[in-house]
């Protein structure tokens, strides 16, 4: 078993890099972080649309959010994989496909988190800001959203952990993330499936549990 670790350890951690694209655990973390970073502006925009006074904005966005949340993430990934090239006009790789699918899916979930966060800020804050002469946009940008973000940190940490786990679906479209590589290693080694898949599970456990604990240590109460 330890020979397997030595032979395939580096492949598991960083994939084919530098002889090929980045893969493995490094790719999982990169994809998870990038997807969450992209999902934030998507979530904020959708949340603002959800609380907007204009029905023509509120209703389609609410409908879209309900559709995305009622569909399995795997389905969203397939839609992105098959139809993104047709929409954008160029062939998108698996990483880009997963990134966009995760950003949209998590953006729809974050919209609820952001909405709750914004609506949780006492009305007095907005009143004070408006009476000081700030307009709608400035109030949001300078007063409401920064405070809301601080309240949302625990949910954001949870969403990051969820996103890290969701990157594993890249396996199905052939993205060389850590679960795909573990399966490839297993198909070469054959005789140690329990050890290999247990190691894969342990990797995710350490990663996700570690992120939550680290956030707790930083003071974020999840």
């Amino acid at each position: 078993m330890t020979e397997s670790l030595a032979t395939y350890g580096l492949y598991f951690l960083i994939g084919q890099y530098p002889n090929g694209p980045l893969g493995g655990l490094a790719l999982t973390i990169l994809l998870g972080a990038s997807a969450l970073v992209l999902a934030m502006p998507v979530g904020i925009l959708l949340a603002l649309a959800r609380i907007s006074d204009w029905r023509v904005v509120r209703w389609p966005v609410t409908g879209m959010i309900y559709i995305v949340r009622g569909t399995p993430l795997l389905m969203v990934v397939f839609w992105a994989y098959f139809f993104l090239p047709a929409v954008t006009g160029k062939k998108t790789g698996q990483f880009t496909t997963m990134l966009i699918a995760l950003a949209i899916f998590n953006g729809a979930y974050l919209a609820e988190v952001v909405r709750a966060g914004i609506q949780g800020i006492p009305w007095g804050q907005t009143e004070a800001a408006r009476s000081l002469g700030l307009n709608y946009g400035q109030t949001l940008r300078r007063i409401v959203v920064p405070q809301a973000l601080r309240n949302m940190l625990p949910s954001l940490v949870n969403q990051f952990v969820t996103t890290l786990k969701e990157t594993s679906l890249g396996y199905i479209i052939g993205l060389q993330e850590v679960a795909f590589i573990a399966s490839q290693v297993n198909s070469q080694v054959i005789v140690h499936p329990v050890a290999i898949y247990a190691a894969l599970a342990l990797t995710f456990f350490v990663l996700c549990f570690g992120v939550a604990r680290f956030a707790g240590w930083l003071g974020v109460r999840t």
Partner: protein, 274 residues
């Protein structure tokens, strides 16, 4: 004057007609047969990096056909999409370019006798006792998602239980873990996987029967009956003298990476199913 012109025209047409209808005569006159090959499809036709010449199974066959006709062969590399146009325009006399004999293509070109048969095969666990395709009825067979394997197998064995996985290696793992009785895939990938198994090979058998067949043949220009007769005759002689078999084993047999244990076709027919 006009009569002379017409006679010349008639003679010219007759000459052109006979010239066109006897490519074989032209070739014999030139002393050279031009073979169109891909040169990028090992081991059918490819460039040997040591000698930097084009070699391969189809190259050997084409050279032998030329020899039987009584001329020398010139090997010309052509692109996949350019195969039929180059033949039709006369830049090559014959196609030896991994060309599948299909009904649709019969409308534009002729085919020689089938020179190679490839397709999809099934690898079974030895302890399942399955020795032919019909015995797969009701049994579990694994393969990869997204290909023609499942559909092709169902055509042959309608009651088979096919389970597909995201990648072929994943399906192979399922077979090796005894989750299924058999694994179907493209012939060349199957032999490659079998070769990589090492000592575990004794537990598995690749059934010789093809689930789907892809007949490869030489491409010939249409309306050249004499040429087709000559090429087919040459191929039959090569088959009878066992030279064709020798080349098969040279490029696909036990000493090569592909290691086909047997040759399950003969060069004898140009009939293909619909």
């Amino acid at each position: 004057m006009r009569l002379m012109a017409m006679a010349c025209c008639a003679l010219g047409v007759a000459a052109a007609w006979t010239a066109r209808a006897d490519q074989l005569v032209d070739i014999r006159h030139k002393g050279e047969l031009t073979c169109g090959v891909l040169a990028t499809d090992e081991p059918m036709s490819f460039v040997d990096p040591q000698t930097r010449t084009i070699v391969g199974y189809e190259v050997d066959l084409c050279r032998a056909v030329a020899r039987k006709i009584g001329v020398t062969a010139t090997v010309k590399q052509i692109a996949v999409g350019a195969r039929i146009p180059e033949l039709q325009q006369g830049h090559v006399d014959l196609l030896a370019a991994t060309l599948t004999h299909t009904r649709q293509r019969e409308a534009v070109i002729d085919f020689s006798l089938t020179t190679f048969v490839t397709g999809q095969k099934v690898m079974v666990r030895r302890d399942s006792g399955i020795t032919n395709l019909p015995q797969l009825a009701g049994k579990k067979v694994v393969t990869v998602k997204g290909g023609t394997q499942e559909a092709n197998l169902r055509k042959v064995v309608p009651s088979v239980d096919v389970v597909t996985f995201e990648t072929a290696p994943q399906a192979l793992v399922a077979l090796q873990q005894h989750k299924a009785a058999a694994f179907i895939n493209d012939e060349v990938s199957l032999f490659d996987a079998y070769a990589k198994m090492g000592p575990a090979q004794k537990d598995f058998v690749i059934l010789a029967q093809n689930v789907s067949t892809e007949p490869i043949a030489m491409g010939l220009r249409k309306n050249e009956p004499a040429m087709k007769v000559a090429v087919d005759a040459a191929l039959r002689e090569l088959e009878a003298s066992a030279e064709a078999q020798k080349w098969f084993f040279k490029w696909f047999g036990p000493g090569t990476r592909l290691q086909y244990p047997t040759r399950n076709f003969k060069i004898e027919s140009d009939r293909v199913p619909d």
